[in-house]
């Protein structure tokens, strides 16, 4: 490959520098995923037991359950991890940090996985 091509590719690499996502995107993305989880949960809650007698209705709540369990647990982890730096700054020591983390996990789990 010629040096001209190498130079051009170097310029191309500079031009197409990776773009950091805006700070609020992560929060918005998590919120959207939380909403998805809650929708799935609500769908389960709202499902009338009588409808379950009809096998044709089984697919939809089953899908909701899958989304709910997968998304919910991941979001607890995501949200707890995302606040690690804040907790670290607020903590007086390792024990305090551990305690704050445990509280955070419990709070998020209660919020995101309310019926499990």
């Amino acid at each position: 490959m010629s040096s001209g091509t190498t130079d051009f590719e170097a310029l191309l690499r500079e031009a197409l520098t990776p773009v950091d996502p805006p700070a609020d995107l992560v929060a918005r993305l998590e919120l959207t995923l939380v909403n998805l989880t809650e929708l799935a949960q609500e769908e389960l809650d709202a499902w009338e037991l009588s409808a379950m007698r009809d096998p044709r209705n089984w697919v939809r709540p089953a899908a909701a359950a899958v989304v709910g369990v997968t998304a919910g647990t991941a979001l607890v982890a995501l949200r707890v991890r995302s606040r690690h730096r804040v907790r670290k700054q607020q903590s007086s020591g390792l024990m305090d940090l551990a305690e704050r983390t445990m509280h955070d996990v419990a709070d998020e789990a209660r919020r995101i996985l309310p019926h499990r």
């Binding site: 590719e9 310029l11 191309l12 500079e14 031009a15 990776p18 996502p21 647990t73 991941a74 991890r81």
Partner: protein, 187 residues
């Protein structure tokens, strides 16, 4: 079935968390250069991770241990195609804040070359879709030929040719613009 597949839901979720954290910037960069503005890039990134969420378990199972970045970028690629089809529009003619992006380069030589970088970004937007995408994957995301091939659903050989032709065509566009800046602006 590979041994490293998650055996519980919590393991699966932890793996998704890793994927999300490792590749948020990749997906956002791809989306941004693909659609040309931050607003739509955010929507596209969001939709990509939602889709990934829904199909993550199957993707892990079928990946046979291979990296999932090409799969993620393929989701973004398909969503971007739908985005243009649904809205009946094409990518914006130029990246909305190419000047801002270029100012992140701080060395004197690069500051001197800022117009050239802007010209390259404008040229990228003039390329056919497949060539533009291949260049974004290679130079913005640092993907190798094999990853790009998987993301685009092509063979490794076809991808190598695609990249080569994309660079050649872009060089031509940039040279043409440098020789006749007015023609470059009107294209």
């Amino acid at each position: 079935m590979p041994d490293d597949l998650p055996k519980t839901k919590s393991e699966l979720d932890a793996r998704f968390t890793e994927l999300y954290r490792a590749h948020l910037r990749d997906v956002y960069s791809y989306s941004y250069y693909r659609v040309g503005n931050h607003h739509d890039a955010e929507d596209l990134t969001e939709q990509t991770f939602l889709q990934a969420y829904r199909h993550f378990e199957r993707a892990l199972r079928e990946s046979n241990g291979r990296p999932l970045r090409p799969w993620l970028i393929r989701i973004a690629h398909n969503l971007a195609a739908n985005f243009y089809r649904d809205r009946s529009r094409k990518p914006e003619s130029a990246i909305e804040d190419a000047d801002t992006i270029s100012t992140t380069h701080t060395t004197e030589s690069l500051v001197e070359g800022r117009e050239e970088l802007k010209s390259i970004l404008d040229g990228v937007q003039q390329l056919p879709d497949d060539r533009r995408e291949a260049l974004i994957m290679r130079f913005a995301l640092g993907m190798d030929n094999r990853e790009i091939a998987r993301a685009l659903g092509r063979t490794d050989g076809a991808t190598k040719v695609l990249l080569h032709r994309a660079v050649r065509q872009l060089e031509g566009i940039v040279a043409e613009t440098a020789a006749d800046p007015v023609a470059g602006e009107s294209s």
